[in-house]
């Protein structure tokens, strides 16, 4: 990462932190003037523009356009989810985040997951809507919606994390992604982010060590996105094949987890009869 990129990352993070601090509710719940909101929106927009410069435009025009569209919608929607006073608006902006993430899944070639995310989170958001309508006070009138918990410290922490992630992800330069061709390239396989398939083709040819065995185990033909001839597998059959051959235990565990969560939700919400004075010392079978 060059020094210019470090400065740009710091600038982006500072702008974003200032913008989100201005957009968050005040710590003591006093009403912020409209000017503070406008300044926060401008700062956050500038930070988003600066954040755009970290991205590399993907190759074809249409997919690049959609990548920018979905990413900007996801990040801006995330900021609005966090800063909205009204929980209904938070849920709506979260829906935009989910839809944009599903679009990004599509662009990354995960069609089944895109559909699954939309279906699962649509249900989750509808349930959240019901809860907000049932429990929350409308139109941001509740004082806990108009006050936030130590917003300065929270903003500092989260944007420090964001800066660290930018700093770590920045130097992923293309020259570190190499094709492992022969024994003289073995040092490349110790670098991070060499494609797993490249490592496997090298290790299956030459290496009989434990590391080679591990890599071969990790990249079996069922778990590869492409079949041996090099053509891409269709999404749903390939994913199902990987899920039910390599990750069968994972599927079982996920089912068990859902079952336990179902029991837990029923047990937690089940209203217990309140114990009235004089009833506590009676034996249980006398109680109706």
């Amino acid at each position: 990462m060059t020094i210019g990129q470090v400065i740009l990352a710091t600038l982006v993070v500072l702008l974003g932190a200032g913008g989100s601090y201005l957009l968050l509710p005040h710590a003591h719940g006093s009403t912020k003037p409209r000017k503070a909101h406008a300044a926060g929106a401008i700062l956050a927009g500038l930070a988003l523009l600066g954040f755009l410069t970290f991205w590399t435009p993907p190759g074809p025009f249409v997919s690049g356009l959609f990548f920018y569209l979905f990413s900007i919608a996801a990040v801006a929607g995330g900021l609005m989810t966090v800063t909205s006073r009204n929980p209904i608006y938070s849920a709506l902006w979260f829906a935009s985040v989910v839809l944009s993430t599903a679009g990004l899944f599509l662009l990354a070639g995960a069609q089944f997951l895109a559909a699954g995310t939309v279906i699962v989170y649509a249900g989750a958001i509808i349930v959240t809507f019901l809860f907000v309508i049932m429990l929350a006070q409308m139109e941001g009138k509740a004082d806990y919606d108009r006050a936030s918990r130590s917003p300065a410290a929270a903003t500092f922490t989260c944007f420090l994390l964001f800066w660290c992630l930018l700093y770590t992800l920045g130097p992923l330069a293309p020259q570190r992604s190499v094709t492992v061709a022969g024994p003289q390239d073995q040092r490349y396989s110790e670098k991070p982010l060499v494609r797993a398939a490249n490592m496997t083709s090298f290790f299956t040819l030459t290496d009989q060590s434990a590391l080679g065995a591990i890599v071969r185990q990790a990249v079996r033909p069922t778990s590869s996105l492409r079949d041996p001839s090099g053509a891409e597998k269709p999404n749903v059959p390939g994913l199902g094949e990987a899920l039910y051959s390599d990750h069968l235990l994972t599927v079982e565990l996920a089912g068990g987890l859902l079952f336990i969560a179902l029991i837990a939700a029923v047990v937690i919400t089940n209203p217990r009869r309140p114990v009235r004075p004089g009833e506590a010392d009676r034996p249980l079978r006398d109680q109706p």
Binding site: T31, T56, V82, L104, L113, L161, L165, L243, A264, T269
Partner: protein, 155 residues
């Protein structure tokens, strides 16, 4: 065979995932509404899932997508348990404020500085009721009916 999903494109996805994760963490730390905190936690999961899918696509195997399915499962479990807890907590205190539950913190941890005047937000301008509606001046002869204003019928 060159893959169109290069390291630069992988970095794009990782950056977006990092941004979503940081924003979700900000919401989880700063907001006081339990439902908004729940949504922020879901947003952190979205950022992580995006990174997993991009990594899986880059390395050319299904493991990222399988892990994202696991994340979907965990998110569903989390949603059911979190909303059940929200219902129980709301029944106890009739409020979604998370700072009301500071007294269940660990022994010896300093309470967040919370006095009454801190938590009391400034009141919004009061919403005026029907008594503020415009009133027509009575005109003409008073009809022979018992005076029963419509405002009292509402009670």
């Amino acid at each position: 065979m060159t893959d169109v999903f290069t390291l630069d494109i992988l970095r794009n996805y990782l950056l977006v995932g990092a941004a979503l994760f940081s924003l979700g963490m900000l919401g989880f730390l700063a907001r006081r509404n339990l439902i908004v905190m729940f949504l922020s936690a879901e947003m952190m999961l979205q950022g992580t899932a995006l990174s997993f899918v991009a990594f899986g696509r880059y390395h050319g195997n299904w493991t990222g997508q399988v892990f994202t399915i696991v994340i979907l499962t965990v998110a569903a479990c989390e949603a059911s348990i979190a909303l059940a807890l929200v219902v129980v907590l709301y029944n106890r205190r009739s409020s979604l404020d998370v700072t009301l539950w500071q007294d269940i913190r660990e022994e010896g941890v300093r309470a967040e500085s919370r006095t009454e005047e801190v938590t009391q937000a400034e009141p919004l301008e009061p919403v005026l009721g029907p008594e503020s509606y415009p009133v027509l001046t009575p005109a003409g002869i008073e009809p022979a009916h018992p005076e029963q204003p419509w405002l009292e019928r509402r009670k």
